[in-house]
């Protein structure tokens, strides 16, 4: 009898709580704070970009022959479309997201590659990737999220990773990154998972325009993980190409001797790691890249990304 009362009261309270939640949601929708069309990507890391990429990969075929890996250097500076047109090979996926350190890229790649066994990996990188603080990526859960076909498993993942604060905070942010294409934060992925920034109407930030990040100190740990990426590909018979992303011509030409030396030392260090295993290393700074191809010191616009991708293909061809 007492148990029945307890269950009945609990059920009524649950209904009351759900009713209040529904009312709050309706109020949020009416006031524009919550928009079901822009429900934030589920949280599997402290990087919104990574979460958004994961959500994209969940809805697209992530098993491809070629993976393009890295941070925003890779997300924005590589053009999947240009690559597919030029090579005729559209089995490609850009799995990069903002701010990933080399360690993050290694862990992410090795988790995904274990499942999909890609044949080629292209790492598009720059000096700044070696100075980054590592992200907190929940990769085991992320992999289950990507590959669970069962509704139960999907629901479980959704409940387990539900975070009210994150959702409320990111409703308007999700809308912004998915719709505002003239912004650095744009995350409208193309079919290959790339985000190539359209230069028309782009609001260039003057601080970013002249930032080369070269006064930051790269971390030894990141070089060790760079070596791990190279070794992983080598050990798994995956062809590996490392492309050093270019700097804007105006910035590169005006660089101080000290900065040029830092960049040179960095390139020498990663080149020696890659070439030691007979893998290919391409330095895009061997030529100058016009300012009109950039949205800041290091991030290319769509035209720049297409040019860099063509450059990569040409340099890679025997």
């Amino acid at each position: 009898m007492m148990m029945k009362t307890f269950l009945r009261q609990s059920l009524w309270f649950l209904l009351y709580f759900l009713g209040i939640s529904a009312m709050l949601f309706i109020v949020g929708s009416l006031t524009g704070k919550m928009d079901t069309a822009f429900w934030p990507a589920p949280q599997y890391s402290d990087s919104y970009s990574f979460n958004e990429k994961l959500s994209f990969l969940r809805d697209h075929q992530s098993k491809q022959a070629t993976y393009v890996v890295g941070s925003s250097m890779c997300l924005n500076n590589f053009s999947g479309q240009a690559y597919a047109q030029r090579t005729g090979d559209s089995s490609l996926m850009n799995i990069a997201s903002w701010g990933l350190s080399v360690k993050d890229s290694y862990l992410w790649l090795s988790h995904l590659a274990q499942l999909h066994q890609p044949r080629h990996v292209i790492l598009l990188t720059n000096y700044v990737d070696f100075c980054q603080v590592n992200k907190q990526l929940q990769l085991d859960d992320a992999i289950s999220y990507l590959h669970s076909d069962q509704a139960l498993s999907r629901w479980w993942q959704a409940i387990k990773h539900f975070n009210l604060k994150y959702c409320i905070k990111n409703f308007s942010y999700a809308r912004r990154v998915r719709t505002e294409s003239a912004s650095y934060e744009y995350l409208g992925f193309d079919a290959f998972g790339c985000v190539n920034l359209i230069p028309t109407g782009f609001q260039v930030d003057s601080a970013r325009w002249s930032d080369d990040h070269l006064m930051r100190v790269p971390l030894d740990e990141q070089y060790a993980y760079f070596d791990s990426i190279s070794a992983y590909c080598f050990n798994h018979q995956i062809s590996f190409t490392c492309l050093q992303s270019p700097y804007r011509a105006g910035l590169y030409s005006a660089m101080s001797g000290e900065k040029k030396q830092r960049l040179h030392d960095h390139i020498q260090r990663i080149q020696s790691i890659v070439t030691a295993r007979g893998q290919s290393f391409i330095d895009a700074n061997n030529q100058l890249w016009g300012d009109s191809l950039f949205v800041d010191g290091t991030h290319l616009n769509a035209d720049g990304a297409a040019s860099l991708t063509h450059f990569l293909i040409e340099e890679r061809e025997p």
Binding site: M2, M3, F13, Q43, K165
Partner: protein, 476 residues
């Protein structure tokens, strides 16, 4: 499986349903179920250490039977020391071996002698400090003929590894828990509702207070040399509320969970930050551990029935051992020593009677403030990575920069956390005469208002539940 995780919610709903379903069949089935789910709960942490837990349970069970049945004092003593030796030996190996080895190495190196001993690469089994103390108190109580040995192995095992208290207490006594395990339990509506409320308040403490304070406490303690005195003081205050929210929150969830299964556990906290003296603080903080040390260390040493100086000696021994129980680090030892030092004035003042005069009015607030300040100071040693760090942290607090405004990354978000702490402490103050703050707070409110208040708490818990932090006391 953390108490504040979705996994635990599902686990507990399942256990709750099965538990009250089998109640209709028999008590023994209910206890077998409790034992199975407790082992299952433990194996979620690390199933390999389940063997250690079962071994420890078996050892104490048989030792208890032999000690109780033997009339030969020598045999009784041998089994007592065998059980204590093995139990404390496991604790020593897993928890303190590396500490002693490293301390000896440091000691030898300071004398210019280089030694290279082997250290163990093992992780500490979850809850070992807690279930070892269960076993030790049980064996000592049998030896002292305070209790009878438990003959039913299932019931004894449930006493040792009952899942709500398995990983971080409260440290139960056979005299309190075993009779409840042996007695038929029927569902009690009022107790279950009380349990639910206590779980909710525990979650508020853990998720809203402790986990938010942890962000800033970690930031400030981990980069202490970058901050000025006022920021460091704020960091110490954040840790003070973190550790209270974390551990008393855990205890509330454990007690609430257990109430829903019809079993009362020992109260572990009683609004300790409203204490007006250090002795009172220790009667209100981690009560089950304090009383354990009182009964099994302080009193056997002579307790209060000795000369003043011996009483002081006993207090120091008890607090230092209690500090060492928390972790294998000199910081914990010093924390214990400091608390013993705090007790000295009241020990010197006391005349053997326990009639501490309670101050009134403004003096009461002053006493409360002073006690709180001493506690905050001691927590710095508890939180710091080393004694050197703790002393330099305190030295930096008591510098000119104490008068400057605190500055650190995220200070605006921290202001929200300070506001949350203020509201939390206000609710604690209003409910301080009850077992937990919201136990009776809303009882006279109309149902809808009461449910709205609970809904606000649930929303707040959901809102802040993004970044789960492990309970601090799990490491002990």
């Amino acid at each position: 499986m953390l108490f504040n995780s979705i996994e635990f919610l599902i686990f507990f709903i399942t256990v709750f349903s099965l538990y009250w379903f089998v109640e209709k069949r028999s008590l023994s089935m209910q206890n077998v179920l409790l034992l199975i789910v407790s082992y299952l709960f433990y194996s979620f942490w690390d199933w390999r250490f389940l063997f250690l837990l079962v071994f420890s349970t078996l050892l104490d069970y048989y030792s208890g039977l032999i000690i109780a049945s033997s009339k030969n004092q020598r045999i009784r003593r041998i089994w007592l020391w065998l059980s204590l030796g093995i139990n404390l030996g496991f604790l020593g190996v897993f928890k303190y071996y590396n500490f002693f080895v490293e301390s000896f190495v440091a000691c030898f190196e300071s004398m210019g002698v280089s030694v290279h001993p082997t250290t163990l690469q093992v992780i500490l089994p979850v809850g070992i400090s807690f279930y070892t103390f269960h076993g030790v108190s049980y064996i000592v109580d049998i030896y002292k003929r305070r209790i009878e040995a438990e003959r039913n192995f299932v019931e004894y095992s449930v006493f040792v590894c009952y899942f709500p208290l398995l990983v971080a207490g409260p440290i139960e006594r056979a005299t309190h828990l075993l009779p409840q395990i042996k007695k038929p339990r029927s569902f009690d509506y009022a107790l279950a509702v009380d349990g639910l409320k206590q779980i909710l308040w525990g979650l508020v403490k853990k998720v809203i207070i402790a986990d938010n304070c942890a962000i800033y406490a970690n930031l400030i303690f981990n980069h202490a040399s970058d901050y000025d005195g006022s920021t460091l003081l704020l960091g110490a205050l954040f840790f003070t509320f973190q550790i209270y929210g974390d551990f008393s929150g855990y205890s509330d969830i454990a007690l609430g969970t257990s109430k829903m299964l019809g079993i009362h556990l020992l109260k572990n906290f009683s609004f300790p930050y409203f204490s007006q003296s250090i002795p009172e603080f220790w009667r209100r903080w981690h009560i089950s551990l304090s009383s354990w040390f009182r009964d099994y260390l302080y009193i056997p040493l002579g307790g209060s029935m000795v000369t003043k100086w011996k009483k002081i000696r006993n207090t120091f021994i008890t607090f230092i051992v209690s500090g060492f129980w928390h972790g294998a680090n000199w910081t914990f030892v010093f924390w214990g020593f400091l608390n013993a030092l705090y007790m000295v004035p009241s020990l010197l003042r006391s005349n053997g009677k326990s009639d501490e005069k309670k101050p009134n009015g403004i003096m009461r607030i002053l006493h409360m403030g002073l006690t709180f300040a001493l506690v905050v100071l001691a927590w710095i040693f508890f939180r710091a990575a080393s004694l050197g760090e703790a002393f330099s942290y305190i030295a930096r607090i008591f510098s000119k920069s104490l008068l400057s405004l605190p500055t650190f990354e995220g200070i605006h978000d921290a202001a929200v956390v300070i506001a949350l702490i203020s509201v939390f402490m206000l609710i604690e103050w209003l409910g301080r005469h009850h077992e937990f703050a919201i136990q009776r707070l809303t009882n006279r409110w109309p149902r809808l208002l009461r449910w709205s208040a609970y809904s606000v708490f649930i929303f707040a818990v959901l809102y802040f539940s993004g970044e789960q932090q492990e309970f601090i006391y799990f490491q002990f």
